[in-house]
C-alpha cells in the first residue's frame, strides 16, 4: 500500500483547478468525469509522480458541513511543504491570493495561511533547520 492521493473538498472544481494550477503552480494530473461525477487531481510540478491532491466537489451535506466548520475554526484543510515560505508568500500574494496569516514562526516551522477561494484554508509550512 502507498499513500498516493489525498482529498480536499472544494465548492467549485473549475475554480479550484484554476487556483491550484495558476496560483499555487501545481499541475493537473487526472481529470475525468462520469455523469455529474468528476475525478480531478493535481500534483506538485516539482514531483509530478508524487502524491496527488484530489479536488473533490463537496456535493454531499457531510462534506459541506465539515468543510465549513473547519474553515470557521481557522483550521487548514490541507498543508503543503516548501523550502521557502517567505518567497512563496510573496509570489502567491503577488498573484492575488488572500493570506489570513503571513509567514509566522511556530514550534519547529514557519507557517503561512491563505484562502483557496473554494472554501478552504491552506497552510504553507517550512520546517525549521536545527
Amino acid at each position: 500500500m502507498k499513500i498516493k492521493v489525498t482529498s480536499l473538498y472544494v465548492d467549485d472544481q473549475d475554480k479550484a483547478l484554476r487556483f491550484y494550477t495558476e496560483v499555487l503552480d501545481f499541475a493537473k494530473k487526472t481529470d475525468f468525469s462520469q455523469g455529474p461525477y468528476r475525478w480531478l487531481t493535481v500534483a506538485s510540478a516539482e514531483d509530478p509522480n508524487g502524491v496527488e491532491l484530489q479536488l473533490a466537489l463537496n456535493s454531499n451535506p457531510a462534506a459541506k458541513a465539515y468543510q465549513h466548520a473547519m474553515f470557521q475554526q481557522n483550521q487548514p484543510a490541507v498543508m503543503f511543504f516548501t523550502e521557502d515560505v517567505k518567497g512563496d508568500y510573496e509570489k502567491v500574494k503577488g498573484r492575488g491570493a488572500e493570506f489570513t496569516m503571513p509567514p509566522t514562526d511556530v514550534t519547529g516551522s514557519t507557517i503561512a495561511m491563505l484562502k483557496d477561494t473554494c472554501g478552504n484554508l491552506v497552510q504553507l509550512t517550512q520546517l525549521a533547520k536545527w
Binding site: 475525468f32 462520469q34 455523469g35
Partner: protein, 190 residues
C-alpha cells in the same frame, strides 16, 4: 440474453451540443419502437432504471415534487445526489436534476413508437464521453423494452467496451472538440 460482446453500436448519430453562456447542453434524439407509456415507465421506475440507466434511483421519478436519491453507478468514490422532480407530465415531459446537471426528457408519439429527446448539461470537455455513454444506454434500453436485454453497460463496464471508445471519438469529431485520452492517466498534459 444476447451476450454484450455481440452488441456493436451503430455509428454516432442524433446528437447536438448547445452552448448557453459557459453552460453546455447535450441533446440526444432517439426513435424507439415502444410506446411513450412504456418508455415513460423505463425512465421513472427504479426497477427499470437499474437495467439501463447510469444511476440507480431509490424512488419513482414520475411524480412532481418527490425527492429521490440518485446514485451514480461506478463512480470512483460514492456519489449520491438528492433530487426533486420538477416536472412530470406523463408520458411526455420529465425534468429533474442529476447532481448539478439539468435533465429534461421529452417523449413524442412517433410512427407507433416514441421519439425520445434528452437534454442534459455536461462539462464541455466531457460532452463526447457523455454522448457515447448515453448512446449505449439507449441501445440497452431499447433491447430491454424489446424483451431481449443485453445488460446494463455503464461506468467502468462502458469505458472498457471498445464500442464506447469508438463512439467517444466519433462524437468528439462530430462536435469538433478534443476529447480527453482514455485511460485518463495517459492524459498528462495540463
Amino acid at each position: 440474453m444476447i451476450q454484450g460482446e455481440q452488441y456493436i453500436p451503430r455509428p454516432a448519430y442524433g446528437a447536438q451540443i448547445r452552448k448557453d453562456g459557459d453552460k453546455w447542453t447535450l441533446i440526444l434524439v432517439r426513435e424507439l419502437r415502444h410506446s411513450p407509456e412504456k418508455v415513460w415507465q423505463a425512465l421513472t421506475d427504479p426497477a427499470h432504471l437499474r437495467e439501463w440507466a447510469p444511476f440507480d434511483a431509490d424512488g419513482n421519478l414520475g411524480t412532481v415534487g418527490s425527492t429521490v436519491k440518485l446514485t451514480t453507478v461506478g463512480a470512483p468514490t460514492p456519489l449520491v445526489s438528492e433530487t426533486t422532480v420538477t416536472r412530470a407530465d406523463a408520458p411526455n415531459v420529465l425534468e429533474y436534476k442529476w447532481g448539478s446537471f439539468d435533465m429534461r426528457w421529452e417523449l413524442e408519439a412517433w410512427a407507433g413508437g416514441t421519439r425520445l429527446t434528452l437534454w442534459t448539461n455536461i462539462g464541455h470537455r466531457f460532452i463526447a464521453m457523455g454522448a457515447a455513454g448515453w448512446h449505449i444506454c439507449f441501445d440497452v434500453l431499447d433491447h430491454l423494452l424489446s424483451g431481449t436485454p443485453i445488460g446494463r453497460m455503464v461506468g467502468p463496464a462502458a469505458m472498457k467496451f471498445g464500442g464506447w471508445q469508438r463512439l467517444n471519438a466519433e462524437y468528439a469529431k462530430q462536435f469538433g472538440i478534443e476529447s480527453p485520452n482514455w485511460p485518463p492517466q495517459a492524459d498528462q498534459k495540463s
